[in-house]
C-alpha cells in the first residue's frame, strides 16, 4: 500500500536554517544538511527546504546546500522559495533537488507551470498554495500569506493541476502557527476534487492532528516545521501512533 508521507519543512536563509532546533545533540543546530540527515535517519519520508534568501550571494550558498543535501541524504527533497523562471529550476535540478516548489511566481505567471512540467516532468513541479478564508470564501494569498488575491483557491489548484503540476502543497494561513490542527474540512474539499497528490500544511500541534488530517481529509502527506524542530513530536513516535490507528506509514 502507498504510505502516507510525513514531511518536515526547514526554513533556510543564506544556507543556514533560520529557526532554532533542539531535538537532538547536533553539532551545529543551524546546519540544514546535518538536520536533514537526522530527519532522514528518524524516518521522515521527504523533506522540504524553504529558501527565504533575498540576495544573489545567498542564492549561490543555497545551491551549495542543495548539492550537499543531495550527496548526503537518501530520501527525496523539495526546494522552494525564489524560483521565478525555468533557469532557476534547472540549476536546482542539476544540483540534485528532486522537486521544486513554486508559489507566487506561478500565480503571477501561470504559464510557468506548463513550461516547467514540459521541461522537467510533472513529478518535478510542486505548486505551493497559501490560502485564507474570508467571509466564507477561500482566496489565494501571495508572499507568505501577506498579499490577498481575488483568485478562488479551488479554481487555482485545479488550474495548476491542468497546467501540469505534479503535486499541491496547500497551506492554510488561518491555521498556520496556531498548533490547533490542520484545516481538515477544507483540505478534504480540495482533495476530493483533484487527481494529483495533496500535501497538507499549517496547524500541526500534536500527534492527534496528523491522525485527523489523514483520517478526515485523506491527504497524501502532512508537512510541519516547529513541532519537529523543537522535538515536540518525534517522527518514530508519530509513525508508530499513525500505524496503531490503521494509517499506512513506512
Amino acid at each position: 500500500m502507498l504510505a502516507k508521507r510525513i514531511i518536515p519543512c526547514l526554513d533556510v536563509k543564506d544556507g543556514r536554517t533560520v529557526k532554532g532546533v533542539n531535538f537532538v545533540d547536533l553539532r551545529d543546530a543551524g546546519d540544514p544538511v546535518e538536520l536533514a540527515y537526522e530527519y532522514s535517519q528518524q524516518g521522515a519520508d521527504e523533506l522540504v527546504f524553504l529558501d527565504i534568501t533575498a540576495t544573489h550571494e545567498g542564492r549561490k550558498t543555497t545551491i551549495d546546500l542543495v548539492k550537499a543535501v543531495a550527496r548526503q541524504v537518501n530520501i527525496p527533497f523539495t526546494i522552494g522559495g525564489g524560483i521565478n523562471e525555468i533557469s532557476d529550476a534547472d540549476i536546482l535540478l542539476n544540483a540534485g533537488a528532486d522537486k521544486i516548489s513554486i508559489n507566487s511566481a506561478a500565480v503571477r505567471n501561470p504559464e510557468l507551470i506548463n513550461q516547467m512540467a514540459a521541461a522537467f516532468g510533472a513529478q518535478f513541479v510542486v505548486v505551493a498554495v497559501d490560502t485564507r478564508s474570508i467571509e466564507g470564501e477561500d482566496f489565494v494569498h501571495l508572499s507568505g500569506g501577506r498579499i490577498k488575491t481575488e483568485i478562488n483557491t479551488l479554481d487555482w489548484i485545479r488550474e495548476a493541476q491542468e497546467r501540469g503540476a505534479g503535486e499541491i502543497l496547500l497551506t492554510s494561513m488561518d491555521h498556520d502557527g496556531t498548533k490547533n490542527g490542520f484545516d481538515n474540512k477544507f483540505l478534504k474539499a480540495i482533495n476530493d476534487r483533484i487527481h494529483i497528490p495533496l500535501i497538507a500544511s499549517g496547524g500541526a500541534g500534536n500527534q492527534q492532528h496528523f491522525i485527523d488530517v489523514f483520517q478526515q481529509a485523506n491527504v497524501d502527506a502532512a508537512l510541519a516545521a516547529s513541532v519537529f524542530h523543537y522535538g515536540e513530536i518525534l517522527i518514530p513516535d508519530l509513525k508508530q501512533t499513525l500505524h496503531q490507528h490503521g494509517i499506512v506509514v513506512r
Binding site: S40, P76, G166, P197, A221
Partner: protein, 199 residues
C-alpha cells in the same frame, strides 16, 4: 566497476551521489568502446519514455546494450526502456522483455502520478533483493508502469492494480522505484547489484 549509460535523459547527480555514499565506483559510458571498461551497467532515466528512447537511439548504443551479457540495471524510465513498448509517446523500446509499459491514468482510480513510498513483494529469491525484507518500502514517482508478469516480475507492487516494481531476465534487471532515494533499502539494492554474479 559500474558504468552509467550517459545519454542525456535526466539528471544523474542523485544516482552518483548514492553510489558514492555506499562506496561504489563508477564511470560514464558515452561510446560503445567504453562499455568494455565496466563489469556492470546502469541505465538511468527520468521523464518521457519515448523521448528517452530517441536519445538512446541517437547515442548509437542500442545494439550494444541489447547484446550485453553482463549485469544491467535499468532505473525508472531506464527500466521501462527494457520493455517492448510504452504508451508514453507510443514508442517502440529495446524489446529485452516481452512486456508493455502502460499509463495508470485510464486504469486506476488513484491519483497519478503514483508518488511516494510503497511496499513491494519480492516474487522469488532474486539476488537484487538479497538482505531486503519482503514488503519493504521504496520511493516511487511515475505515471506509467510495467505490467505484472508471472515470469519476469521480480518484485510486485500494488497501486489499484498489480504492477512490476522490479523485473529480471537473464542479465537484465530493472526497478521502477528510485533506489537512490529509497533510504537504506535502496542503498542495499545498489550494493546487491554491484555484487550480482550471473550463473
Amino acid at each position: 566497476m559500474i558504468g552509467i549509460i550517459n545519454y542525456g535523459a535526466g539528471n544523474i547527480f542523485s544516482l552518483t551521489a548514492a553510489l558514492d555514499r555506499v562506496g561504489l565506483t563508477y564511470g560514464m559510458i558515452n561510446t560503445a568502446e567504453e562499455m568494455d571498461l565496466y563489469d556492470r551497467i546502469i541505465i538511468p532515466g527520468v521523464g518521457h519514455a519515448g523521448a528517452a528512447m530517441n536519445k538512446l537511439r541517437e547515442s548509437g548504443l542500442v545494439p550494444y546494450i541489447k547484446a550485453l551479457r553482463k549485469p544491467v540495471l535499468g532505473i525508472c524510465v531506464g527500466m521501462q526502456l527494457l520493455t517492448d513498448y510504452s504508451e508514453e509517446g507510443d514508442a517502440d523500446l529495446l524489446k529485452l522483455f516481452p512486456l508493455k509499459t502502460l499509463h495508470f491514468e485510464t486504469r486506476v482510480a488513484g491519483k497519478v502520478p503514483h508518488m511516494g513510498w510503497n511496499s513491494v513483494s519480492v516474487q522469488a529469491n532474486n539476488p537484487l533483493f538479497a538482505n531486503i525484507a519482503d514488503q519493504t518500502y521504496f520511493y516511487f514517482v511515475h505515471s506509467y508502469y510495467i505490467e505484472y508478469d508471472t515470469i519476469f516480475t521480480a518484485a510486485k507492487c500494488d497501486y489499484g492494480l498489480p504492477f512490476s516494481a522490479a523485473i529480471s531476465k537473464d542479465n537484465f534487471f530493472g526497478v521502477q522505484f528510485h533506489p537512490e532515494k529509497s533510504g537504506k533499502a535502496g542503498e542495499q539494492l545498489l550494493l546487491n547489484f554491484s555484487t550480482i554474479q550471473l550463473d
